[in-house]
Amino acid sequence: MSIQDFGLYSAAAAGLFAFLLVTVLILTWLERKALARIQMRMGPMRVGFHGVLQPIADAIKLVVKEDILPTSADRRVYWLAPLAVFVPSIMLWVTIPVGQDLVLRNLELGLFYITAISVLSVMGLVMAGWGSANKYAFLGGLRAAGQLVSYEIPFIMAILGVAMMSQSLDLTVIVADQSTIANILIQPLGFFIFLLAGLAELGRTPFDIHHAESEVVGGPFVEYSGAHWAVFFLAEYINTFTIAALTVLLFFGGWGWPDMPFDGVAHSALSAVWFLAKTYAVILLMFWFRGTYPRLRIDQLMAFGWQGLVPLSFLNIVITGVANFYGWHWLALTGMSVGVLAITFYVIKRQPGTSAERMTVSVIRAGDLRSAPPTGGEGQQSAEPVPSAPRPDGGS
C-alpha cells in the first residue's frame, strides 16, 4: 500500500466516521420527533428550530458528565465493554455501500464479513453486564446473549436466501441484480424474517428485552454514565442504521431500484440520496413499531425465534433453492413466499383464540344483581359463588 493509498483510505475512513456520527445525531432527533408525533406531543422544541440542535446539546451534556465506576465493578471489563460494542458496529460500515461507487472497500465476501462482525457486539453486552457487578445488568447481559445468539440464525438464513438469488455475497452485485425487480417482491418471507430478526438483534421494541426499563432498568447499561454510556448509545443507533441499510440493500434494491438517471458523479450523488431516503423510511418503520407495541417476554421471544423464525428461514431457503434449481419464473417464488407468510400470520392470529374467545370479561347489569341478591346478608359472604356457578348473563 503506497503512502497515497494510505492517506486516501484514512481520509475516507474519517469521512465515514463523521458520516455515522452525524447520522446518529439525526436519528436521535428523528426518533424523538417521530415518537412525539405518535404520542401527540411536540418532542424537543427548545434548542434550535424544532429542536434540531437538541442532539448536540445532549452530546455535550453526556461528554461533560461524570463517569461513574461502581466500587465492586471489574474495572477492565467495565471500561472495555463500550468499545467491544462500538468497534464492531463501525467496522461493519467498511463494506456497506451508501450509493453507486460510494463504499470504503467493497469485499467480494461482504455479507460474510457483515454476519461475522455483527455477532461480536454480543460479547460487549455480556461484558457490560458482568463488569458492572449489578444484578439487573447481569440479568440484562445474559438476556442479550441468549436473544442475540438465537436470532443470529434466522438473520443469516434470510441473508442467505438473498445471496442464493444473486449467486453472490458482494453487496454491489446484489444491488445490481435487483435493478429490475427488488427482492421484496420475490421474497417477502425473507424480508419478514430479516426485519424481525434484525429488530431482535438490535434489541428494539418489541424485542427490547435486554434493556427493558420496567424489568431490568436499562439492563447492561444501568451503571454506565457520561461518555461511556454515550458510546453504547452511539453503537445502538449505528446498528439501527446498519440494519435499515442492509434491509434496503438486500430487499429494496439499494440505490438501484428503480435505476437513477445521469452518469458519473451526479449518478453517485443521486443514488446516495435515493438509498438514504429508503433507509430512513425503514428506520421510521422501526420507530413506528416502538411507538405501538409492547414487549415480549424472554421465553416467548425464544419460542418465537426457535419455533417460528428458524423453521421459516429454512423453509425460505428451501423454496428459494427449488425455484432457482428448476429455473421457475420469479412470480412462482413470490407466490410460495406469500403463501407461507399468510399461513404464518393465520397461525399467529389464531393462537390465543379468536377475538370473541379472548373476551373473558362480561358486564352484569346492576338491576340483575339487585333483583336477585345472592345468599347471605352482607359483606364478603354475599360474594361467594363457586367457580363453576353460572353467572347471571352467562357471558364467557
Partner: protein, 373 residues
C-alpha cells in the same frame, strides 16, 4: 415452563434481586425481594412501609374537618373517592341527612375520579408491559378530568372538597357544558385506549393466563374491587351495600372469568365506560338545591363507633371510627383496598417469570400512599 436451570450435584444459590424501593415499575416505594433461578421466580417477599406516615394516628390529633385532607393523601390517585369514604363514615355516625344535590355532585365527581384513576392505571400498565405510548394517551384523558376538577374544587389533586354534611362549593356555572364536552371526549378516549392495547397479540401473550387467582383464593386473601371482579365474583359495594344515591342508577358491573392480568386490566377499562353511564344519568337527574346539610361549625359526633364501606377505584375502602364525643376521633382505622389486594401478590407470583412480576404487580393497581398510610 422451563425446567430448573440448576446443575444436579452442584451447590448453587438463587440470585436474589431487590425490586424496589427504587425501581421504575414498583409504582412508588414498594420493595419486592425475589429469588430467581434463571428467569423464573422461585421466591418472592414483598416489603411495605416505606411510605408510612402514620396517617391513622395523625387523625386522632386533628379535628373531624381537618381529617379530610389526610384522606386526600392516602389514595392520592383517587382523592375524592378517598374523601368520600371518610365523610360517609362520619355522616353515618352522626346520622346526617345530606342534601340531594350534594349527593349528586359527589357521585359525579367520584365516578370521574374513578375514570381518572383507571386511566392512570391504563397508562402505567402499558409501561409495565413495555409499550410507551399508552401512558401518554391515558394521561391525556386524566388531564382533561383534572382540568374539570380544578374548576370545581380549586385543586387538581388534593381537593379537600367533600365535607362532612355535603361539599365545599356548588358547581361552577359552565359545569354542564364542560361536562357534556368531557363525557363525549372521554367516550372517544376510552375507545382509543382500548383499541391501542387490548387486542394486541403481544399484550395478550404477556397478560393472558398470567398471575391468575381463583374466586375462592381471591376472597380468602381479602382481594376486593376490580381485582376481585376479574376473578368472576360479582361483588361491588355500590350494589351490595348501596351508599349515597347509587341505588338510583342503572349501570353494569364488569366481571372476568380467569382472574388473570388481562381480566384485571379489562375489567378496569370496562368500568370506565360504566362510570360514564352513571355520570350521564346523574347529570340528567340532578336539580339545583342546597349543597351542605345543617351542621355545626365544629363536628362532634355522638359517642360510639362506625364502619363504613365504599367502593373506591381500587376496591372496598372501609373506614372505622371510634368517637368519644369530642371533636377528634378516639381511634380511626382505614381498611385500605390496596393493602388487602397486595396480600394476593405472593399467590399470583407463583411460577412467574421476572418480567411477569412487573405485569402482575401492575395489574393489582396499588397506591403506596394507601398501602402504607
Amino acid at each position: 415452563m422451563i425446567e430448573s436451570t440448576k446443575e444436579p450435584g452442584l451447590d448453587s444459590l438463587d440470585l436474589m434481586i431487590n425490586m424496589g424501593p427504587q425501581h421504575p415499575s414498583t409504582h412508588g416505594v414498594f420493595r419486592l425481594v425475589i429469588g430467581v433461578d434463571g428467569e423464573r421466580i422461585v421466591r418472592a417477599e414483598p416489603h411495605i412501609g416505606y411510605l408510612h406516615r402514620g396517617s391513622e394516628k395523625l387523625c386522632e390529633a386533628e379535628d373531624y374537618a381537618q381529617i379530610v385532607t389526610l384522606f386526600d393523601r392516602m389514595d392520592y390517585i383517587a382523592n375524592l373517592n378517598s374523601e368520600l369514604g371518610y365523610a360517609l363514615a362520619v355522616e353515618k355516625l352522626m346520622a346526617l341527612e345530606i342534601p340531594e344535590r350534594a349527593e349528586y355532585i359527589r357521585v359525579i365527581l367520584c365516578e370521574l375520579n374513578r375514570i381518572a384513576s383507571h386511566m392512570l392505571f391504563y397508562g402505567v400498565y402499558g409501561l409495565d408491559v413495555g409499550a410507551m405510548t399508552p401512558v401518554l394517551y391515558g394521561f391525556r384523558e386524566r388531564e382533561r378530568i383534572q382540568a374539570l376538577f380544578e374548576s370545581v374544587t380549586g385543586a387538581r389533586m388534593m381537593h379537600n372538597y367533600i365535607r362532612i354534611g355535603g361539599v365545599k362549593e356548588d358547581l361552577p356555572d359552565d359545569f354542564d357544558a364542560r361536562m357534556k364536552a368531557l363525557v363525549s371526549q372521554l367516550e372517544l378516549g376510552i375507545e382509543e385506549c382500548d383499541r391501542l392495547l387490548t387486542d394486541n397479540e403481544m399484550f395478550l401473550a404477556r397478560t393472558k393466563g398470567i398471575g391468575s387467582i381463583g374466586p375462592t383464593d381471591a376472597i380468602d386473601f381479602g382481594v376486593t374491587g376490580p381485582s376481585l371482579r376479574a376473578s368472576g365474583v360479582a361483588e361491588d359495594v355500590r350494589i351490595s351495600e348501596p351508599y349515597g344515591l347509587y341505588d338510583r342508577f342503572d349501570f353494569g358491573i364488569p366481571v372476568g372469568t380467569n382472574g388473570d392480568c388481562w381480566d384485571r386490566y379489562y375489567v378496569r377499562v370496562e368500568e370506565m365506560r360504566q362510570s360514564l353511564v352513571i355520570i350521564e344519568q346523574a347529570m340528567a337527574q340532578m336539580e339545583p338545591g342546597p349543597i351542605m346539610a345543617k351542621v355545626r361549625r365544629i363536628t362532634r359526633p355522638p359517642k360510639g363507633e362506625v364502619y363504613m364501606r365504599t367502593e373506591s377505584p381500587r376496591g372496598d375502602l372501609g373506614v372505622f371510627i371510634v368517637s368519644d364525643g369530642s371533636d377528634r376521633p378516639y381511634r380511626l382505622k382505614v381498611r385500605a383496598p390496596s393493602f388487602a389486594n397486595l396480600q394476593g401478590l405472593k399467590h399470583m407470583l407463583r411460577d412467574a417469570y421476572v418480567a411477569d412480576a412487573v405485569v402482575i404487580l401492575g395489574s393489582i393497581d396499588i397506591v403506596l400512599g394507601e398501602v402504607d398510610r
